[in-house]
Amino acid sequence: MKIKVTQEKLNKALSNVSRIAVGKVTLPILNNVLIRVNKKKVSLITTNLDMAVIDFLPVSSSEDGVVTVPAKLLAEFVSNLPKGETIEISSKDTKVTIKSGKYSSTINGALADDFPELPEINEKEAVIYKIGVDEFKNSIGQVIVATSNDLTRPALTGVFFNTYNQTLAIAATDGYRLAEKKLIDKVESEVKAIVPASSLQEVLRAISDDIEEVEISFNEDLVRFRLGEIEIISKLIDASYPDYKKLIPKDHKIKVTLDREELTRVTKLAALFARSVGGSIVCETKEPDTFLVKSIANEFGENDSMIETKVEKAGKVNLNSRFLLDALNVMEEPQITFEFSDHIAPILLKNKKDNKYTHIIMPLNS
């Protein structure tokens, strides 16, 4: 096996694939990256058996062959080589030699035979969506905050891709809050799949400036994200997702429009005092024009902040300040709506104009 490639290209590819090649003590070969050259096509592959990252590397010249090398070591070595140089990687049996100008090193690799075979998307049966990269990145970011890391409820550790009313929506919930984003309108095919949050995070990290579009292909138990030269395949979480749409309240008694930045600021202020009571703050409306955010900490003191806005009905609700901040942080528009009805019904947050994003937070017992 032999490839010639510039430092920049190789460095980028290796940093994409090497992130997941860590920590499996049971099967050491999973710490390695598989380098395969087949008819001038070069691919770098890593997997942790929940997902795999494949980078198709454009190279100036190559000879066929296959080998595996410790991914972290190779990535760090290459990243420290001078930029702009051409790097030549060649292998003889399991010895891998990397040469670049004055630098040269030999790394002990391992035979590719033990490297696991990866599942492949069945293109014929796959449900495929394409979406602009910015839209994708934003939307995933908006819902992934609400995923749970409670491994006893595997369904909630992922983001739920589902179609209803000809819309592809993504949703996540940890039982205390829920975020939903309508991703694509007027879709024909149907899908219901839970993608692990960890895999999506890896997809987000792999996005770089030169990528314009993300292609998502679903099989029954597998998903593939294609971003330019990178492919990320991941298992789907095999569990049934709760019928989350029932949780979104239909009508609320109290609705106010608030400036997002201002609400963020007063929530942060209130959160300072709310630390000792688990971040619990009180939001209160008073006619005709007062929205209050309060918090009380017995030992430190208390905090009251006021925002002026049109209020039609008085009311009060307790909620977790961290959840509110998380939500405000991922919303886009300067003006948002804040709706609630009483202590038990969830709080609903939306952008004022755009109706695609919904975030709900369960109130705390007062």
């Binding site: 049971t26 099967l27 058996l49 033990d114 990866l118 298992k235 095999d238």
Partner: protein, 453 residues
Amino acid sequence: MYDVWKNALAEIEQKISPANFSTWFQDTSLISTKNGNVRIGVKNTFFVKQLRNRYLDIIKTALENNNVVINTIDFEVQTSSKVKPRSREITKTDIDLKSHVKNYAKTLKTESSRQTGLNKKYTLDSFVVGSNNDLAVSVAKSIIDSPGSRYNPFFLYGGPGLGKTHLVQAIGNELLRRNPNFKIFYTPIAHFYSDFIDAIQNGKGREFSRKFEKLDCLIIDDFQFIVGKEKSQEEFFNIFNDLYQLNKQIIVTSDRLPSQIKTVDERLATRLTWAGAFDLQLPKFEDKCAILKAKAELMGAEIEDEAIEYLAENVNTNIRDLEGELSSLLVMSEVRGLTPLELIENGSIYVNKTSKLRPTSPKQVVEKVAKFYNLPVKEMCGKSRVAHIKNARQVAMFLLSKELSLSTNKIASEVGVKDHTTVMHGIKKIEKDLKLNFTLRDEIESIKEKIYG
């Protein structure tokens, strides 16, 4: 079907490397073999292709050797949450088990007597003796034979859930059984001082102390909660002195030594440990197995040895947690109609209780020890034969070995001694000293607190 797959796995295990076996076969199961259509459950889709392309032949041979007829082999993704409990005929043993568990629940309902405060369910017979508690138990037995003599007061300490309450109540119950006229009173310290305050408020302070003066044996539980209750402490001190003068047995439990409880009067602290302080330690693996077996037997439940070993290995906090996990496992097994081992193997039960102590680095341990003894690290880890420096070095060796389970060679390099034999000698010496030397024990406890705190 379950056994067939187990046998097949045993065969496969011998043919491939352990790393490959544990990665690819650990979470597999045999779903069905109907009409020669073998269906194998796997963890996720990444396993399907690997098993099919690399291991199909091995699986096939292994199954055929177990007399399975094979037409096709299919792999299905099957996560543990999806595993449905297999229905099982309720056989006679199941019914027995059910009623046993119920009966046991009944006996668990506390039968504490108003007069003595003792709960009859705690007996010496049900206290499992192991290397972690044999000393305390033998002292308990000698108290039962001759109360108020050699081991008076009996001060018992140890972490939560290690059996302090059980042991002292068992002493009380046994004393009462042998001498029905014995006046015994068991009370947690919290009740002691709330009763005391009530008595004072009702102007019956005198009566309160008289009640204690007539006792033959006083058992005080959870003494550490005395913190900050100075008046009660004084009252207790007086009662203690009175009873002690009359050679009446006093038994006190606490989660730490009296000298480590901050606001305890020094006079009281020394008196409490006059006859020595005895500790209950965390049980070792074998002890835990014995405890679980005894407990299961008491409940009349059947549980496989493998299941017991699984629990013993995975619960590392204390005996209370151990028993808690055992009973939840048994209840689950009753509800689901599976044996405990089947529950564990199909992943319905996941136990992992480890102590919350932060892991720490050898360097930190060495530094903390040196700081505690006011020595520079360099001096402590040097060649000095001066007694107190040598002692500090040995304490460091001891802690490195017990807390971090380092090898003696590694320890030798950490504390700068010549070789592992010196380390072995040092650890042995501290272990020996610990049995007799209470100051040393205190010192080590407070170093531990510093390391983990």
